[in-house]
Amino acid sequence: MKNALRLLRAERDWTQAELAERLDVSRQTVNAVETEKYEPSLSLAFKIARLFGRSIEEIFDPG
């Protein structure tokens, strides 16, 4: 599943570690989501969407 997480993070000039801290997950999790190796749970997807003020569909694209 494609996602715009890396782009959104770059817009805010956050490191993966900073984003991970805001989401209360590990840096490895942020990296795995960004590189599309891991699809986050619905609750984490909601957390990400709320943090960036977007809808889930705007960030994640099932293709």
């Binding site: 209360d24 590990s26 490895q28 999790t29 795995a32 891991y38």
Partner: protein, 138 residues
């Protein structure tokens, strides 16, 4: 002035202490139950039985620490551990089943294939599973 330890630091310290206590009690018990030493000491069977059970409590505390540690992990880490278990569990069954059948077919020397030799393969399978699972997400 020293700052109080954070929860993760406290957990890590507790986990380390429990692990060290478990490993030391296991090594100590194995050394104590060594055949040659027992020949010299000539201890009663019930004493040897009790000594053999000494590592059980530290091992139980270690397992509880592992379970709590996994519960504190985020979702990706929990998934990695689940995948490691999915890898390790069937391998453990395969190993025990194969050894069981081999035992019927040939004389497996107990000095090489007793419980105390075989159990170490189970955490090794788990560690192998962890390494494989992490490769997928790195």
């Amino acid at each position: 002035m020293t700052t109080p330890d954070s929860a993760p630091q406290r957990h890590a310290r507790y986990d380390l202490v429990v692990t060290i206590v478990w490993v030391l009690t296991f090594i100590g018990t194995r050394a104590f139950l060594d055949h040659d030493l027992q020949q010299r000491l000539q201890l009663a069977g019930w004493i040897r039985f009790l000594v053999a059970l000494v590592p059980v409590l530290p091992a139980a505390l270690f397992l509880r620490a592992v379970i709590r540690g996994i519960a504190r992990m985020d979702e990706l880490h929990r998934r990695v551990h689940l995948e490691a278990l999915v890898f390790a569990y069937p391998l453990a069954i395969l190993l025990l089943m194969t050894l069981g059948l081999l035992q019927l077919a040939v004389d497996l020397p107990v000095e090489d294939w007793s419980y105390r030799h075989v159990w170490i393969y189970l955490p090794l399978f788990y560690l192998g599973g962890l390494a494989l699972a992490w490769r997928r997400y790195r």
